[in-house]
């Protein structure tokens, strides 16, 4: 009651100098303002909720980051710390000998270069090819587009692990409608069901002189980057169905008027796509690029011996197939009393070195991650 009177009462105006006036009014006392603002149930609720929220978030962030913390701490421990039972998470004596050994003995830079080349090329190809395909599905009506999109979903649903041996066979004897096979002296064949060969047909084998990869049953593409490239160029590589789905959803949200105005101005379909649609979809494309780059960087399935790299002497030297797989010779058996822990620490240091470049890239690109998906207007129809 008092308060309202005070506030409503006319403030006293006093002229101080020529250009300055001073207004006097009785402010509500600090105590009462404090009471009204902070000692309410609503404020209490807010504070409690904020605290609970932070505890939850910090807790989950801890779960996500803890493996990295402990791996990092184990990786900078000197080997004397491994015999000291007092040392758990914080190292007593720092040393970077594990990093050094892996860097030099396992040729980290060579593996890094190869992996970088493979990941960046497949990621760029996949991003462009998938946006190309997705744009076709999103903006054009043609006969059979629903059936084709069902095929895209199908490629997403059938796991590549189920098809592993068939994929391997495909790229061991890679062929396009039997053409390579025919010109390498293998005769006619159709999907392994029908084969026909005779002396005349096997005399047409000029392709075999092109190199050891050309055999009479097709082209052997194992232990090379070709399988990755071919799968990427066709939008069939790891999780490409998901990328096509996400990008299609994004392009469907782009208003048709944008393209129509471009068409009226005389721009063709492809020019419109490259000069108008692609520039506005950069956040989404960065998201897809980030997915495909990092999933190909940390891939352990396609580059494993059960898939495309079945001969380790011929296969490209990649990070995931070499670093952290074995213990470097100079570190082997250095801690005889605690071999298991030492080996685990060396191996996980290798793992850290594999993901380190990825983490750096992620820090720069992560803001696009939410942005890209935010703008996709993703819906389930």
């Amino acid at each position: 009651m008092n308060n309202t009177q005070n506030v409503n009462s006319k403030p006293r105006v006093r002229k101080e100098t020529k250009n300055k006036i001073r207004v006097d009014f009785e402010r509500t006392s600090f105590k009462e303002r404090f009471k009204a603002k902070f000692l309410t149930f609503n404020f209490l609720k807010k504070v409690v909720w904020a605290i609970v929220r932070y505890i939850l978030l910090v807790g989950v962030a801890y779960i996500v980051l803890f493996p990295f913390f402990s791996k990092i701490s184990a990786s900078v421990m000197s080997y004397t710390d491994f015999t000291d039972s007092m040392v758990r998470l914080i190292p007593k004596n720092f040393s970077i000998e594990i990093y050094k050994a892996i860097f030099v003995e396992q040729e980290y830079m060579r593996a890094f270069g190869n992996t970088f080349l493979l990941s960046i090329s497949t990621a760029i190809i996949q991003t462009f090819i998938c946006s190309f395909i997705a744009y076709g599905f999103a903006k054009f009506k043609f006969k059979g587009n629903k059936l084709l999109f069902a095929c895209v979903i199908l490629t997403m649903i059938i796991p590549h692990r189920t098809l592993a041996s068939s994929i391997r066979l495909m790229f061991t004897n890679f062929d396009v409608f039997g053409i390579f096979r025919f010109f390498s002296g293998g005769g006619f064949s159709f999907l392994g069901l029908f084969e026909y060969n005779n002396d005349f047909l096997s005399s047409i084998n000029f392709m075999q002189s092109w190199g050891p990869r050309f055999t009479s049953s097709g082209v052997n593409l194992m232990n090379s980057y070709w399988p990755f490239m071919i799968l990427s160029f066709c939008g069939l590589a790891f999780k490409n169905g998901l990328y096509i789905f996400l990008l299609r959803q994004f392009f469907m949200g782009v208003p048709d008027e944008l393209e129509e105005s471009a068409y009226i101005d005389g721009s063709g379909v492809f020019r419109t796509f490259f000069t108008i649609i692609l520039p506005i979809s950069i956040p989404m494309m960065i998201t897809v690029f980030l997915f495909s780059f990092s999933w190909s960087w940390t891939d352990i399935f396609y580059s494993s011996s059960q898939m495309f790299f079945n001969d380790s002497s011929k296969a490209p030297y990649l990070l995931t197939t070499t670093i952290g797989k074995k213990i470097p010779a100079s570190l082997d058996g250095k801690v005889p009393s605690n071999t298991l822990k030492w080996d685990a620490a060396v191996k996980s240091t290798g793992g850290l070195m594999i993901i380190f470049p990825l983490v750096i890239m992620y820090l720069f690109c992560q803001k696009y991650l939410v942005q890209g998906i935010e703008r996709s207007g993703l819906t389930a129809d």
């Binding site: 978030l57 996500v64 190309f132 796991p159 495909m170 069939l236 993901i355 935010e374 819906t379 389930a380």
Partner: protein, 321 residues
């Protein structure tokens, strides 16, 4: 004079008709890479996989000979003496994944709601929470696998940060069990909750993409709706259940489908078992393991169909088409 007008008219008509065709052709050109890949690469692969499940390969005089087995491999997948654990592995594996799905969905929805609120350090939390998206293909698991062994054999000493030891340190399952013992819940429920808590590391690491999709969905809800509901006097609880959940329900469907596909297609016990069969049984192994893969795949499709059928009954679309 009249002639030229006619010519113009017919020309115009022709052009208008061909625009549709032109666009359809352009559409084909856009999807051409996929069509080519599907015909040349994907179809033969699937065909070969199905074929290999139907043929036994035997070596006769140094040559491999395929003989059609009249679906015997599908029968042997269940009844061969060496595949005794197949049924059990299959159903327990699928059951585990099915139980994980609601956990992952609830967790990622909850976290997305939290990360969507305005607060200090939101960008930092978002950056941390999406780390699993980047590192989810199992490289860390593969490295950890070697490290897990020694946490089992050696209880003390340095924590090397393997995933196995993390769950034990974050929440003590025994404490949780004690807490729930006080409350009268059924044993099955108790087991489910404690399993989920023990598995929290796994769940957090598998819900990165889902969180991202939910967050995008939450961002797309118009603030005007929240404002009008607030003016009408709805509480936060009511707002969540009557506005947020219906508006986000299409995303729940998308995420459920993604979670099912992701957990079935990534490495799991069933896949490992199917792979091990290949070398375990001589001659028939390849065919039986391919047959098992297809049985597994058909069951995955069935699970997917059930999940979609259940969820789409509760899905709300703002604009009906």
């Amino acid at each position: 004079m009249t002639n030229t007008v006619d010519v113009k008219k017919t020309k115009k008509k022709k052009k208008a008709a061909s625009l549709e065709k032109k666009k359809a052709r352009a559409g084909w050109i856009f999807v051409l890479p996929f069509v080519i890949g599907f015909v040349i690469v994907y179809f033969p692969i699937v065909f070969e996989s199905i074929r290999s499940s139907l043929f036994y390969t035997t070596k006769v005089d140094g040559k491999f000979v395929d003989t059609f087995n009249y679906f015997n491999s599908y029968y042997q997948a269940f009844f061969h003496p060496d595949t005794g654990e197949f049924t059990q592995t299959l159903f327990s594996g699928i059951g585990e994944i099915v139980l994980d799905i609601p956990m992952i969905l609830l967790f990622s929805l909850f976290m997305a709601v939290l990360l969507n609120q305005k607060m200090v350090g939101r960008a930092a939390f978002r950056a941390i929470f999406f780390v699993p998206v980047i590192l989810s293909t199992g490289i860390m698991d593969a490295i950890d696998a070697s490290a897990v062994i020694d946490t089992m054999t050696n209880a003390d000493g340095i924590d090397d940060g393997s995933g196995g030891s993390t769950s034990g340190q974050v929440v003590d399952a025994l404490d949780m069990q004690r807490l729930f013992n006080g409350i009268s819940v059924t044993d099955g429920m108790l087991g489910y909750v404690t399993n989920a808590i023990n598995d929290i590391f796994n769940i957090v690491n598998r819900s990165g993409v889902q969180m991202l999709i939910f967050l995008a969905g939450l961002q797309s809800i118009s603030p005007a709706i929240y404002e009008s509901v607030q003016i009408d006097g709805a509480s936060a609880w009511e707002t969540f259940w009557k506005i947020t959940v219906p508006m986000i329900s299409p995303m729940i469907l998308v995420n459920a489908v993604y979670t099912v596909i992701d957990s079935f297609t990534s490495e799991n016990a069933v896949m490992d078992y199917i792979n091990s069969i290949k070398t375990k049984i001589p001659e028939m192994g390849t065919a039986i393991s391919a047959a098992m893969s297809w049985i597994y795949f058909i069951l995955v499709i069935a699970v997917l169909g059930i999940v979609v059928a259940i969820l789409s009954a509760y899905t709300f679309y703002q604009k009906k088409k």
